[in-house]
Symmetry: C2
Subunit: 224 residues, 2 copies
DNA sequence: TCTATATTTGACAGTTTGTCAAATTCTCTC
DNA sequence: GAGAGAATTTGACAAACTGTCAAATATAGA
């Protein structure tokens, strides 16, 4: 931390430091133009410090991101890629890198949001043409012998969408994660419950409790 | 089969009948040019009656196809689509229609072989670009809540590769099917064994027997 | 037809699944 | 920081599922 005269100076120092990444952001945005936006978040003020190729209609100075406290707990400096939905419904593939000061404290985030909708559309068109069956041939190849990886991928996806960090997730999230897995049908995999309970560090009984709740809300939804 | 007057007439009659489909074969081949070949098989002589846009380097008069006896048992007149490998390794998407005489007896087959390699290559390139993770994100989306459909797709795939028809498969095939499912990891789906035994019309015990064998050959392979 | 092989049947022990009540821990509020 | 209320763990349990087995039966090939 360079100068300590007062808080305001520290903040503007952080912003200045962050803006050194602006050309990088610009370069990435141009490379992928017009499909990607690059945003630099200032963690000291919780605002947006820079935007290249604005897709999400946010502006410099806007407050950004909800929960950033968790980032300190991160083991890596790269988060994602994870899926994000733009205000207009487009699917974005997002990846975030953590920008730290010399002391190693998180200063900001550089977030690349890549609009993959057109790519997915093209891929799907080709898929359809190449597909056997009515389009259902791929699962066979993609259903891994190693179902744990499949589950892990689903969990990683979930974590990516919500914020982050592997094992350090609040117990409120457990219920949501389990509900998601249930809705995607993962519990017809053998031994998933004990595996999950070990993974999340909670008891089997709790997993079953969340499961029961998830199934009941599902029923409620079905009836309404 | 260089035969007597009687038979020869019958045979040439069949061929003539089949050649009426030649323009259709030609038209399909031209539509998909240069990616598809269309072959008309003569079932009465087990030879090739016509080829449009030859990809597989076979020629008219060549003997064709190994097992055609099964076709009589078919419930539909369209077989596939199923995957086929060309002599040069290219993957072909094949679909076959049965050509019958007015009495309803199978006379020939019209087989369309579509080279999907370039399409798959393009799709995969796009997939990679759109992919989350290192390419393993899709299973999550493709792992259906309805695992039965996933299994059915795998089985249908298997059936397509070997020849055909749903429930009418020899018991030798059971072992192969189960081995395939085991190797792809499908038996970590709950209740798969009873489901399969019902589906194949064999007993649970037999399924387990095949499973045991499949697992032992796997071990043998692993050790060698 | 007879023999050798494979399948079915029914029974069984071992696991896994899902639920429960009591004991414990956690989380608020005061 | 003490205590009420909620959530979680623990350990136990019945029910369901898994995998194996031996005897009875069916099937295929000589």
């Amino acid at each position: 931390m360079p100068n300590k005269t007062n808080a305001r100076q520290e903040i503007s120092g952080a912003r200045e430091e962050l803006l050194r990444f602006a050309p990088v952001a610009e370069a990435v945005a141009i490379l992928l133009k017009p499909h990607a936006e690059v945003v630099i978040h200032d963690l000291t003020t919780q605002t947006i410090a820079y935007i290249a190729n604005n897709l999400s209609r946010r502006e410099v100075g806007n407050s950004s991101l909800a929960d950033l406290k968790d980032i300190g707990a991160l083991d890596t400096d790269v988060i994602g890629p994870y899926r994000k939905t733009n205000f207009d419904g487009r699917q974005l593939k997002s990846i975030t890198s953590v920008l730290r000061d010399p002391a190693g404290d998180p200063l900001g985030l550089l977030c690349i949001n890549f609009d993959i909708a057109p790519i997915e559309a093209a891929r799907d068109a080709l898929s359809l043409l190449a597909a056997f069956q009515d389009g259902g041939a791929q699962p066979a190849a993609l259903f891994r012998a190693d179902w744990q990886e499949t589950v892990n991928a689903a969990i990683a996806d979930f974590l990516g969408e919500r914020g982050l960090a592997a094992s350090a997730l609040a117990k409120d999230d457990h219920a949501a994660l389990i509900e998601m897995l249930e809705q995607e049908g993962y519990f017809s995999i053998r031994n998933l419950v004990p595996y999950l309970s070990r993974l999340l560090g909670i008891s089997r009984a709790t997993v079953y409790k969340h499961l029961r709740e998830a199934r009941q809300t599902k029923i409620r939804k079905t009836m309404s």
